[in-house]
Amino acid sequence: MNPKAVYKYCKHLGCCEACCLRYMGIKNPNAYENVANFVLKYQDEVDKPMRVIEQSQNIASKITDTKENLFDVSIREDLNNSNGNSLDINGADRKISNGDSDTNPPPSKRRKLDICVSCLGVLQEDNWMEGYVLVKDILFKKRYECATFACALSAPITTLLRERAITLRLADEFPGYDDKILTALKEAWKWSFGVKLATEINKTLDSGAISPLLITLNYDYADDLQELEILKQVSPQLFEERSKQKRRFVTEFTRRSVEQALQNASLQSLRAAGGGLACAGARAMCVGAVCTHAPNYLAGRYIKLSRHLPQSPWILEGKRVLPSSVQEIIYKPLADLYNLAAEQADGRLKLIAAGREDVDVRCLGEGRPFAIEITDPTRQLTPEELASACEHISKSGEVIVKQIVPITREDLIQLKKGEETKSKTYEAICIKLSHSKYDDVSPDSPIKVTPEDLARINSFRNTARNTKDTENNIENSKSICNISGGIKDTTDNLDNCESMHQDDKDTSGVPLRSPDNFGTVKEPNSQDVKDATDILDNSTPLKVKLADNPDNPNDDKNNEIDLSVNVLEIKNRETDAESDIVDTLKSDQNVLDSPDSSRDFLDTSVEVRESENRNNCEDIRIMIQQKTPIRVLHRRPLLTRTRHILELKAVEVPDHPQLFRMFVRTSAGTYVKEWAHGELGRSRPSLGDVLGAKVDMLALDVTAVHLQWPPQ
């Protein structure tokens, strides 16, 4: 197959130079960038632009000579009717008259081209100005700082039909012609228009995989749908089916449906339907440009100091319940930096947090990890701007954000995964509302939290100790020590925290650490192991059999997604024999030492048997079963889930004998409020069950969300 012959043939059909190169299979971007120079080698002497008139005559006569079908005649007729330059039926005259009209062109103006029968003018440089103008206009308004761009083409769909009509003719004319060599219109357009656009807008053209700024140009062609009508003849059953399912297919002709229809089209079927190469009445016009920048992501942690602040706006029946939210406080300075109006901020900014706390729960320590997605950002914020945003947020008095850093989209995975897998530490003020069944006091005496109560809470466990993971146990114990130390004297604790904070900064390089030293989840082989003292070992572990029977919560709640199961670890734990369960039950009764009170624990032991240990790398002190809380039951499935209390420590509250202060670390997805009061027995064994008394929670703080964030 002779390239020159293909070039000539395409030229005869009415292709522009660039389209000729496409059908020849030219893939060299430079060829398209300098198409006029590149095609010289394929042109006969007689065809060179210097001799435009002869060339036109030549082509015209060839077309007339071939007279291969009615279709080609119709091209010329249509051209003449629509072009307006010539009323002459003779195509050759039309070209001549074109040439004539350019006899005195301004020096810069090139010869006006005819509309390419394939690209409909998309690749023809004379038509590009309107595209530049549209793009420049948008860029002027949006002012992206991005130095690179990628461009995308939305071409008339009929260009697909036309390509097929041409490749079928080529295959007919040149046996062995492979239509797979065709260079895609959008590629040729990037290499030609895109390169010129780059100089026009003073940005570097890059691939869409690299540049975050995407410029899409939409070309409209008046006869697009009308020309595609012939496909109903070419592929009748496809479009019959589609019209039957009209509700599914809003428009009959989509790129997909057209591609499908053309797949099996033959030259005969196309010709029978009219040819598919109708003469373009008017060129495709660039009617719109859309510029979008890939989202930016920012990461930080928020501290929430208010018990009257929801994470996102709380609106009930169209009315605000509370005036502000964490989200709005964080959005405000970012929206200002991006020049977004308040209503825009809502659509352009998105808060992605590692879970959420209730309105009345504070989030202290290092705060809760979050990310902000900024849709179509015009630029990256500078470190100074981000620091000022933090300052503004913290001025609210309700939310503190110490640091915001840019992250990548991939980093979000860590955030989501952390939300589903990482434990959380809470501090709570609880109240004992009835005498404990273990209390030996007169029913009329005041209710008091006794040292025995505290000891019971601090030693309770309903699981076998995980001895396979000493490091973790020790690590956990160390955390408890820190808490208990801190409680005796709050001011001392504060000082300790400060120094610990410094130490942590020096040794681990983690910029933010929580005062209670729960802030960062350490690796099991942490160097700190040597410092640890195990104060948890004063309880007699109850043996329970752990079966790997994964319950599938299948829940929509973000922080309740199942953890993956380490099957090996579970198998290790399964070695406890069935008879141990009996021991467990007996042991339960001994420990609890009251025939009527053992009921909940008996139940629980049985349920624990059925549950699995998913958090197997940690020592689980208490396995609990939680039904979906009533407060979310209207919108979530009713399920019973196994959750874990990993650490638990209670201390007295001076001057408030009925209260106790509790520190608890739970697995992800634990409803800690419901665990404390038991929610009418729907969460078991509850803190109240452990104490043998009615218990409620007066205040709750999240003190640590154990996730390394922002990523380093």
Binding site: L305, R307, R362, L364, E427, A428, I429, I431, L433, T490, L494, D556, R599, D603, K627, I630, R631, V632, L633, H634, R635, R636, P637, L638, V653, H656, L659, R661, H677, G678, E679, L680, G681, D696, L698, A699, D701
Partner: protein, 175 residues
């Protein structure tokens, strides 16, 4: 900076001592249901269309000192076999105001049924009552609740308006 949890709440504010049911539910009463004296039912409405069915403290049940068991087999349906699927609680038994939610059978072979008082879908029976029927007597407005049902907003709102409020109830039973 220190944000002591004890400083974050006002321990003198009685609001923080509200019980779990006081916090989340508003109580309504149906008295002398089906013309039976002191056949008194309490419905606890959560703001989210969830309602707990309980015995009102004035129910004649609390006056009788006899052993009892709870029977959840009502005619052809076993309330304990109730199962709900998904967010929509599909498959839950349909309840009508007169539907019996359970039967209390006394040691003296007499019995009475507890109606559910409102139209809705049965979400959950308090299964603990099967093993520990004493909960019904000991804590009828908390761990001894009978069942959880889910209704439409329209039905819950209308029923709430129609029924006797807690304040009205206190006046009536104190007479």
């Amino acid at each position: 900076m220190e944000y002591n949890i004890l400083d974050s709440i006002d321990l003198n504010d009685p609001a923080i001592y509200k019980s779990f049911t006081e916090r989340y539910f508003s109580k309504r009463y149906l008295l002398n249901v089906n013309g039976i004296k002191n056949n008194d039912i309490m419905l606890m409405f959560h703001s989210n269309r969830i309602t707990l069915i309980c015995l009102a403290p004035s129910h004649f049940f609390f006056k009788k000192n006899d052993n009892y068991t709870l029977n959840f087999n009502i005619g052809k349906v076993d309330r304990l076999s109730n199962q709900v699927k998904g967010k929509g609680k599909k498959g839950g038994q349909a309840l009508f105001p007169d539907s019996a939610i359970c039967k209390v059978e006394w040691g003296d072979k007499t019995a009475f049924t507890i109606p559910c008082g409102m139209r809705g879908t049965l979400v959950e029976i308090n299964e603990k009552l099967v093993k520990y029927p004493q909960l019904l007597k000991e804590s009828p407005d908390s761990d001894g609740f009978i069942a959880i049902m889910l209704s439409s907003i329209a039905i819950t709102d209308a029923t709430k308006k129609e029924l006797i409020t807690h304040e009205e109830y206190l006046k009536i039973v104190n007479v």
